[in-house]
Amino acid sequence: MNLKLKALTKSIWVFHAACSPCNNCDIEVLDLLTPRYDVERFGIILAGSVRHADALLVTGVPNYKTAQRIKKLYEQAPKPCFVIAVGSCACGRNMFRESYNSPCNLDEIIPVDIYISGCPPKPEAMIAGIVKLIKKVGSSKGY
C-alpha cells in the first residue's frame, strides 16, 4: 500500500448526503459520530462542505427531486470520492421499490462503493462497512 493510498484510507472525511430518507439512518449516522464510537480514531471526520469530502454517506430513497441533487452532489465532490449507501433504502429502495415517486436505485445514478444494509443499520455495522471499504480500496489499483 503506497503512501497516498494509506493517507486516503486513514483520513476519510465523510459528507452526510441525505437523499430523502426517513431520518432513522441519519440518526444512526449521527450516533456513529458521537464520542461513544469515536471514529476520529480512524481519522473519520464529518465535513461541512462537499468539496472537502472523501466519502458520501447517502441515506434514503432517491426520488424524482433528490435523484438529480445527489448526482450533482457527487459531481461536486473532488475525486477520488467514495459513495457509501447507508440503510436498506439506499441499498435497494427497500419497500419503496414500486413507489410512484421513486425512479431508480441509488447505484443507477452514482457508482456505489459499499452497501450497508439494515433499517436502520447500527453504528457498529457502519464501522464494519467502512473497514470493508478501506480493505477494498487498499487492495485495488484503481484509485
Binding site: 497516498k4 480512524f42 481519522g43 461541512g48 472537502h52 473532488p78
Partner: protein
C-alpha cells in the same frame, strides 16, 4: 544560503509546519480526552495533508484569479512570521528596528487571505463567512494593538530584541499589573486570530457549513489547513516573546508553549460559539476597556 535555509527549513516553513501540525494533533487529542474518547494518532494531521494534496482541485466557474493565489499568500505570510520569531529566539541580535510592527502587520495577512479567497469563490455562504471574518478582524485588532502598545510603553522600544532583553533584566511582563491585563487581552485576541471556538464564527460548520473554506478542495484546502497549523505555532510563540520571555531556553520555551496551547484548547472546549454581534460587542466593550486600562497602568509605571 543561510537565509534560504532559515526561510525554508529551520525556523521557517518545514519546522513551523511540522510543529504546527503536531500542535494540531495535540489539540485534537486533548479535545478527544476531554470528551472521554481516544482521539487520533499523532501523525493524523500529516495524513490529512498528504490526502488533500493527492486530491483533485475543483475551481468554480465563477471564481476569480485570487481564488487560486490567496492560499499561497496565507502560507507565505505565516511562514515569514515564523521565520522572524524563530530567528529572534535563536539569536536575538538578528532583530531589526520595527520588527514588532512588521509582525503585527503580517499576522493580519492570513485572515485577509481567507477573506480574499472566500469572496472570490462566488459562493454565497463563503461570502457570509468572509464578511464575518472581516467584522471579527475589526473587532479584535483594536484591543490586540492596544495590548502590544502596553508592551511598547513598558519597554520603550519596537524591537523584539529590546523586549526580550527588558524581560531578562526586569522580569517577565506578565508579572506586572499592566502586563497581566495586557496578556489576558492578547490571549483572547489570539484565540480569535486562530479562529478557535468562541470566535470560529467565520467557519461555523453547523450553520454556514465551512464558511470561508467552503469552495476549496484538494491542495488549495491543504494550504489553508497548513496556514492554520502554522498560526497555531506562531501565536503562542508571539505571546511568549511579548509577555513571558524571561527565560527562552529550549526547555522553558517548550513548557511555556505547551502551557499556553493547553489554555487555548481548554478555552476552545469549554465555550459555545458566539454570534458575530456578540463577538464584536465583547471585543469593543470589555476587552478594549481592559486593554485601555493596561495602557494607562503601563503609563503610570505599574
Amino acid at each position: 544560503m543561510k537565509l534560504v535555509f532559515n526561510y525554508l527549513i529551520f525556523p521557517g516553513f518545514l519546522f513551523s509546519a511540522v510543529v504546527g501540525l503536531i500542535s494540531g494533533w495535540f489539540d485534537r487529542k486533548l479535545t478527544a480526552r476531554i470528551q472521554w474518547r481516544r482521539g487520533p494518532v499523532w501523525y493524523q494531521n500529516f495524513l490529512d495533508l498528504i490526502k488533500l494534496f493527492s486530491k483533485e482541485i475543483i475551481i468554480p466557474t465563477e471564481a476569480k484569479f485570487t481564488f487560486f493565489i490567496s492560499p499561497f499568500v496565507g502560507v507565505c505570510a505565516s511562514v515569514i512570521v515564523a521565520t522572524m520569531l524563530g530567528r529572534v529566539l535563536v539569536n536575538p541580535s538578528e532583530s531589526f528596528i520595527g520588527d514588532l510592527i512588521v509582525l503585527v502587520y503580517l499576522l493580519v495577512i492570513p485572515a485577509i487571505a481567507f477573506i480574499l479567497g472566500a469572496s472570490s469563490s462566488g459562493n454565497p455562504l463563503a461570502s457570509v463567512g468572509a464578511s464575518r471574518e472581516m467584522k471579527l478582524i475589526l473587532g479584535y485588532e483594536l484591543p490586540f494593538i492596544l495590548s502590544i502598545l502596553t508592551i511598547i510603553i513598558k519597554t520603550g522600544s519596537i524591537k523584539l530584541e529590546a523586549i526580550l532583553n527588558h524581560q531578562i533584566v526586569y522580569g517577565s511582563h506578565i508579572a506586572s499589573f499592566s502586563g497581566i491585563v495586557a496578556f489576558l487581552v492578547a490571549f483572547l485576541c489570539a484565540q480569535a486570530k486562530l479562529g478557535f471556538v468562541p470566535f470560529d464564527i467565520s467557519e461555523a460548520e453547523q450553520e454556514i457549513m465551512a464558511g470561508t473554506l467552503i469552495e476549496y478542495s484538494g491542495p488549495l484546502l491543504a494550504l489553508f489547513k497548513l496556514t492554520k497549523a502554522i498560526l497555531l505555532y506562531i501565536m503562542p510563540i508571539f505571546l511568549i516573546v511579548l509577555f513571558i520571555g524571561k527565560d527562552t531556553s529550549l526547555k522553558f520555551l517548550f513548557l511555556k508553549y505547551i502551557g499556553l496551547i493547553t489554555l487555548i484548547i481548554l478555552l476552545k472546549n469549554t465555550n459555545p460559539r458566539l454570534k458575530i454581534e456578540q463577538a464584536i460587542k465583547f471585543f469593543w466593550g470589555p476587552v478594549s476597556f481592559l486593554a485601555a486600562v493596561s495602557v494607562i497602568l503601563a503609563l503610570l509605571g505599574w
